[in-house]
């Protein structure tokens, strides 16, 4: 039963924090093709919250189980998957680093090799997440402060994803960074934008991916926001929320300055002050850095 050890590398983040952008880069890096990879064929394809993944590796249908029962089985699902794959596998995950009712980490410790954790200024996350969910920014700000916030937690219907507990934005960040410990590689969205070669190369080394500067440069060029927008405009993007007008929107830093009211900025800072300061998003005198 131990042959699943250390196989999974999680691509973990609160939504709208650079995870998909990294997957575009990763897909282009490993493909090594001379044309940009198609955004509807991104790697890794495995999503931790996928109902189909659970049904395949649990041996029992999630639709016959309660949310808590599903969570209790999820660590074993990832171990089963890791045991069968026999190599490092990358899995995207939006769940916070939580524990099951028995105190077992949702992302099985035994199956985990490590995680790349993507973090982004919560002021920008609020704007981008609101656009993604086609809701108003104030609603998103409330959700980002809610320690009970989950995706797909509907008891009365079945959807393609399992319940995923996100917690608040601050709790999501600290759950991963403090929960997983030294096997975690942190990537700030702002560093990905401002120093892409250095930042993406750091992740390449951590993940033991092909560390070839030319390949990295090319993969970065193919991951440019303009290229992603062009593809989405031409052929759509299957990971876009049904109600959102687009997925790849701006990809910039500081868009919050044009959208958030003074009260909304104050509310976000009040809700997330400690974590924002810890990761360089807020100066000592409470001024936003980006």
């Amino acid at each position: 039963m131990d042959d699943c050890s250390g196989r999974i590398l999680w691509l973990a983040s609160y939504p709208k924090s650079g995870n998909t952008w990294f997957r575009v880069f990763y897909t282009n890096l490993i493909s090594g093709q001379e044309v940009p990879a198609r955004i509807d064929e991104l790697e890794p394809r495995l999503m931790a919250g996928s109902r189909a993944l659970f049904d395949e590796y649990a041996g029992v249908h999630a639709s016959n189980l309660t949310f808590d029962e599903i969570e209790r089985i999820r660590p074993q699902v990832y171990e089963t998957l890791a045991r069968e794959e026999k190599k490092t596998i990358f899995i995207k995950i939006h769940d916070a680093y939580t524990r099951t009712g028995e105190g077992v980490p949702l992302v099985s410790q035994r199956a985990t090799r490590g995680a790349i954790y993507f973090i982004r200024n919560p002021l920008d996350v609020a704007v981008s997440f609101a656009h993604h969910n086609a809701c108003d920014v104030q609603t998103m700000i409330e959700k980002m402060a809610d320690n009970q916030y989950s995706f797909c937690a509907w008891p009365n219907r079945i959807v393609s994803q399992l319940r995923q507990r996100l917690l608040s934005w601050s709790a999501h960040v600290t759950s991963w960074v403090d929960g997983l410990g030294p096997d975690l590689h942190l990537m700030r969205y702002e560093d990905m934008v401002l120093s892409p070669v250095e930042t993406f190369s750091g992740a390449v080394r951590f993940a033991r991916l092909p560390n070839d500067p030319k390949r990295i440069q090319k993969a970065l060029a193919f991951s440019d926001i303009g290229e992603l927008q062009r593809q989405e405009k031409t052929s759509g993007f299957k990971e876009k929320h049904a109600k959102a007008s687009s997925f790849f929107r701006k990809g910039t830093i500081g868009a919050w300055r044009e959208v958030l009211t003074r009260d909304q900025v104050k509310r976000l800072i009040d809700d997330h002050r400690d974590v924002m300061k810890r990761f360089g998003y807020l100066s000592d005198n409470d001024e936003p850095v980006f």
Binding site: R51, A52, D55, E56, Y57, A58, G59, V60, H61, A62, S63, N64, T66, E69, R72, I73, Q76, V77, E79, T80, R83, W154, P155, N156, R157, I158, V159, S160, G236, K238, E239, K240, H241, A242, K243
Partner: protein, 293 residues
């Protein structure tokens, strides 16, 4: 009626099963079930299996052991209700039993349209049962819910399953069915058992078409016919938890079943937007396609 054409002798009452005097094809009894299957060749988080044997463990419900397509032993947990025991028995457990008996189990619901059977297949959450129930309300007889057993000796025949359909609260609401008189499949789930005995076919029906239901983030509804190898792969992919095929050491048999069956049946892909799930438009599309396609 005989669900799946089987004489079933069961210590737990099953819908549609009456006491049979004939020698049973399948015996279901309560007894000791081990917590591991020695010699298992395929393991999942809750199950272990090898050729002819399958063990399923559902904490706080039961352990189930299926052997050679003929016997199922259940060791129940004290807190489990009969409905809970039946829920897992009639889904994952039954699918393996059917495989062991040489049938092709598809993850889908079947209705009778004209003289032939139509199966709506696809992953959980894509609207198979909701669509079947909506068509049942329009007078199409139900053949099976969730698990479609196809006999592939010659022209493929779809066997009548258990006379009920499971629907989530949201689906009941969409279909205008009052949930207050219905029983939940498990006390903690808003998933209801809708009895369908009076609206079931009694005998196998030849399978003429499979619709694979898929969901995307758009809003358009579309039907596309699949051809050649894509038909075979669609059947392989919609086999009820296809890993059991490997676990039961039936890969070659299964491929032959799928490739033989597609000679007789149309396979079509139906794509719809995820949100909102417009059941009325989907029903209209299917009815039109059945009439003209």
């Amino acid at each position: 009626m005989k669900p799946f054409g089987l004489n079933i002798h069961s210590m737990i009452p099953l819908p549609g099963c009456t006491e049979q005097k004939e020698t049973p094809d399948v015996s279901i009894r309560f007894g000791h079930v081990p917590d591991a299957l020695p010699g298992a060749t395929l393991t999942r988080a809750c199950s272990q299996e090898c050729s002819g044997r399958f063990l399923l463990i559902v904490d706080h419900v039961a352990r189930y052991l299926v052997e050679n397509g003929e016997s199922i032993t259940i060791q129940r947990s004290p807190e489990a209700t009969d409905d809970e025991l039946r829920l897992f028995l009639m889904s994952n457990v039954w699918a393996v039993l059917l495989l062991q008996r040489g049938l092709l189990p598809l993850h889908g619901c079947g209705i009778k349209a004209g003289s032939g059977a139509v199966v709506f297949a696809g992953p959980s959450g894509n609207g198979k049962s909701t669509l079947a129930a909506a068509l049942m309300n329009r007078g199409f007889p139900l053949i099976t819910d969730e698990l479609s057993a196809v006999c592939t000796n010659g022209q493929p025949m779809l066997l009548p399953g258990f006379p009920q359909i499971l629907l989530w609260a949201d689906a009941l609401k969409k279909l205008g069915i009052d949930s207050r008189k219905l029983v939940c499949a498990r006390p903690a789930l808003l998933k209801y058992i809708v009895p369908a005995e009076s609206r079931m076919v009694a005998n196998p029906v030849f399978l003429k078409r499979i619709y694979i239901l898929s969901v995307n983030n758009g809003t358009d509804l579309a039907v596309t016919s699949l051809k050649g190898m894509r038909k075979i792969h669609a059947l392989i992919d919609t086999t009820y938890r296809s890993h059991h095929v490997e676990g039961q050491d039936l890969k070659n048999v299964h491929f032959k079943q799928c490739s033989d069956a597609v000679k007789y049946i149309d396979v079509k892909q139906v794509t719809r937007g995820a949100d909102p799930f417009d059941i009325e438009s989907l029903v209209s599309l299917i009815m039109e396609d059945l009439q003209h396609g």
